[in-house]
């Protein structure tokens, strides 16, 4: 009954139905019950995704037993959205060898096809699960908001877009839902559109994303002109011939079919630009901290599971392309490492709880990029694994921060409250678990995933294309880990320990949140605590993901990477020590020697470091000076030119007929005989001209 195609369609269809139902009925009919369609739709969608995961697992097991294929995938073609025959501009596969199987390459056929493979299945489960919990949490959080129904409609639409994004099998469709996700993020960040900051933040997210989307669109164009198709999968025609998809199994089977060289690098860099925009990597990370202006569940949704993971997913999906170009992975790793360090350095000094978490998200995303940038199968699976675990604990942290915020009457500045552990015990304990996971305390999920990334980097630094680079990146990652542990616990300690301080805005709200909010926290805490260890010790995650066709690419399977990720004891110990050191430093500084903090701050400020970090390295200001101001100047110059030069010319041209008209208008006297006389004189002139 629940076959893979059915489930694959059900997963996005249920949120879509919820969206339509809420949008149609929410305002007039459902009102305070508007959450039901969304919660039910996303919950059922989660169940379907879970079932799908098990089905895929079973299928992977069978595929292993069956004939040798490159990974496992099942493509469900729903319909052909557009089919333009002979639209292509290039000879089939001209840059590379042109195998005889490739026919009909020139048709621009956009298939609306969904695919099921391990990567998609994992993503679907992650997305729907976190989204479901966020939706449940929102029931309490968004209670009595005037736009209640609107919020749930947006959430469901967001989930629909994200599930589609991870399950489509076509670059064009991917792009479409990429944009749809961007649209939903805009709608949700700017949900309280009466607030000028929220509207500005939504706009900023949208505009910054556009830059990345533009790069992504160019990348898609380049893929089309290079490969002659946009499908991921192979298409088997009625004639028995096959059109190779960009990431089709038949192409993956022969590594030589991928285009290499400059074009490949260009494609990868453009895709990377898109991923940077969506996943908030330097230099396009500036939108994410501002996105805090939206409701907290939205922040959780965006940061944890949906939007920002799109870039990671896309790079993982396109790993063969990156691999073919050779240098692209290093670029990914470089950006990831730099972003991770930068964001954690900023997070150290921030005082806004949600903003700290936002920069930590950027930092952790940088970590994932680092893992992907390793370019090896362990690295990529490690990056995806970190994404998976990060989804849980970051959602947990955000929802916990939301819970705190809820209790504090909207105050989120950690300097204004403290010692909340007695008032909010559930939040305190779940938040602690989340912090431990984020700080990669040994035994918690974050520790294992982060450790795998570090292992992958470390291995690359030992033997890889550019060991020096990866070594530096490994050190940077370690430093980031230290800083992460420090700032995480700085925030935690300032919030829940020390003398009890409650801002006056809180009023009588300063107590534990309702069950609909704490229950997701507990669930997420459980997962944050144990899911990493579970998968780490069973090796299930990496093995399962390795059956994704993109990752089952033979070139990935170098001889030592063929087995499961190794437990590199040295790296593990080092990272554990780093994490513990960070936590300890935070404990010492903020719980034992609070005076030292001020002194340290003053000392750092003396050399400008504190101010630099507190001012987020002045990247926004730099953008303002480097981009916005020149653009505004250019716009002003264009306006001036258009207003006075072009319009002046046009007005001048317009003036001539007006002047002529003013002269000729006196002829239009309305007197019949005047017109008759004019006709007669005209005839006379003609006759005279004819005779003379």
């Amino acid at each position: 009954m629940f076959s893979i195609p059915t489930l694959l369609v059900l997963v996005p269809a249920l949120p879509l139905a919820a969206t339509l139902a809420t949008a149609a009925l929410g305002k007039k009919v459902l009102r305070e019950q508007s959450h039901w369609p969304a919660v039910a739709g996303i919950g059922l969608s989660f169940l379907a995704a879970l079932l799908l995961l098990f089905q895929v697992r079973a299928a992977v097991a069978q595929a292993d037993a069956g004939p040798v294929r490159i990974g496992y995938e099942e493509v469900v073609r729903l319909w052909t959205w557009a089919n333009v025959e002979g639209a292509g501009g290039m000879e089939p596969g001209s840059p590379g060898p042109s195998p005889p199987r490739q026919i009909a390459l020139m048709d621009f056929a956009v298939e609306v096809a969904l695919r099921a493979d391990p990567l998609t299945a994992v993503m679907l489960v992650t997305v729907t699960f976190v989204s479901f919990l966020v939706a449940v949490y929102s029931i309490g959080y968004m209670h009595e908001d005037p736009g209640y129904w609107r919020f749930f409609a947006y959430i469901a639409l967001f989930v629909f877009s994200m599930t589609m994004l991870v399950s489509v099998s076509n670059f064009l469709m991917l792009y479409i839902f990429w944009e749809a996700v961007g649209l939903c993020s805009y709608l949700l960040i700017g949900f309280w559109y009466q607030k000028p900051e929220a509207a500005a933040a939504g706009k900023k997210a949208f505009l910054v994303n556009r830059i990345g989307d533009f790069g992504f669109a160019l990348g898609v164009f380049l893929i089309w002109t290079t490969y002659g198709t946009l499908n991921f999968h192979d298409t088997i025609h009625d004639t028995g011939l096959t059109t190779m998809g960009v990431l089709g199994q038949s192409r993956l089977a022969e590594p030589g079919l991928f285009v290499a060289g400059g074009i490949a690098t260009a494609i990868c860099l453009l895709l990377l630009l898109g991923a940077c925009g969506k996943s908030a990597q330097f230099p396009l990370h500036v939108w994410l901290p501002d996105a805090m202006e939206g409701p907290t569940p939205v922040s959780a949704l965006i940061h944890a599971a949906t939007m920002v993971t799109a870039g990671i997913y896309m790079i993982a999906r396109c790993a063969p392309l990156f691999h073919a170009s050779g240098d692209a992975f290093q670029a990914v790793a470089l950006i990831g490492g730099f972003t991770a360090l930068l964001a954690s350095a900023i997070a150290v000094t921030q005082t806004d709880l949600k903003r700290i978490l936002a920069y930590s998200t950027i930092s952790q995303l940088g970590y994932m990029f680092l893992g992907l940038g390793a370019g090896t199968l362990p690295g990529i699976t490690a990056g995806m694994f970190h994404l998976f675990t990060h989804a849980f604990f970051k959602a947990l942290l955000f929802l916990g921060a939301g819970s705190v915020m809820h209790a504090m009457g909207g105050v989120i500045d950690i300097r204004r409250f403290g010692g909340l552990r007695h008032r909010m015990p559930t939040t305190h304990w779940t938040f602690l678990i989340g912090c431990l996971a984020l700080a990669a305390f040994p035994g918690f999920s974050g520790f294992f995933s982060k450790d795998e990334i570090l292992v992958a980097l470390h291995e690359n630094s030992l033997d890889g294309p550019s060991p020096a680079l990866y070594h530096i990146l490994y050190l940077a990652a370690s430093a980031t880990a230290f800083l992460t542990a420090f700032y995480t616990f700085r925030a935690f300690i300032l919030t829940f320990y020390g003398p009890e301080r409650i801002p006056h805005e809180a009023g009588d709200h300063a107590h534990e949140s309702p069950n609909s909010m704490t229950l997701p926290l507990v669930i997420l805490a459980i997962f944050s605590a144990f899911v990493g260890a579970w998968f780490f010790f069973t090796h299930g995650f990496s093995e399962f993901l390795a059956h994704t066709p993109s990752l089952a690419y033979p070139a990935m399977h170098t001889e030592e990477a063929a087995h499961a990720p190794s437990v590199h004891a040295g790296v593990m110990v080092a990272s554990a020590l780093v994490a513990v050191a960070g936590i300890g430093l935070a404990w010492l500084l903020y719980l034992r020697w609070p005076k030292t903090v001020d002194r340290l701050t003053a000392a750092m400020d003396a050399v400008g470091l504190y101010r630099l970090s507190f001012g987020k390295f002045y990247i926004d200001q730099a953008y303002h000076v480097l981009v916005v101001r020149p653009l505004a100047g250019l716009a002003w110059a264009s306006y001036w030119f258009d207003r006075y030069v072009v319009d002046g010319l046009v007005d001048l041209i317009g003036l001539a007929p007006r002047g002529a008209g003013a002269v000729l208008r006196s002829l239009q006297s309305g007197m019949v005989q005047f017109y008759a006389l004019a006709m007669v004189l005209g005839v006379l002139v003609l006759i005279v001209a004819l005779l003379v």
Binding site: R665, Q668, S669, G670, M671, Q673
Partner: protein, 150 residues
């Protein structure tokens, strides 16, 4: 006899041209709508004369037939023109074509006659005045001169 026919043709064409030109002048200068219409008909007459002359010269009845159609069209034109002029007259109480220049450019002033011609005073004749019965009529000198004394 070709000479005779040619001269006939010449004469009639000149007469047709004269009628046409005089009608044209009338159409252009007269401001009474009916006179304008009559002038237009006069132009048609000029054309008709020419057509008949050419038809005779070429021994072709089509000239006369065309004139018949001209007459038919003139009849239609007369019917419609009469109706329209009647309408216009009912609206302005006047047959002056210069009053109907509403289609002029909006910012142009209306046409106004700056000078009006002197109209000769109406010559009223002597009217009889009746006197009460039993009295000798006291007639003015003018009327007594006018009446014959029997």
């Amino acid at each position: 006899m070709i000479e005779h026919e040619l001269n006939l043709l010449t004469n009639f064409l000149v007469v047709g041209a004269l009628l046409f030109g005089i009608g044209l002048i009338g159409f252009l200068t007269r401001r009474n709508m009916i006179i304008m219409f009559l002038s237009a008909e006069m132009m048609l007459q000029g054309v008709s004369v020419s057509l008949v002359a050419w038809g005779r010269y070429f021994n072709d009845l089509d000239g006369q037939i065309l004139v018949i159609f001209i007459i038919a069209v003139a009849a239609c034109e007369a019917a419609l023109a009469l109706a329209l002029i009647l309408m216009l007259f009912q609206r302005r109480g006047n047959l002056d074509i210069a009053l109907w220049h509403d289609l002029r450019e909006s910012n142009l002033p209306p046409y106004v006659d700056h000078e009006l011609p002197e109209i000769p005073p109406y010559q009223s004749g002597p009217w009889p005045t009746l006197t009460p019965a039993g009295r000798r009529p006291d007639l003015p000198q003018q009327e007594t001169d006018y009446r014959s004394h029997v």
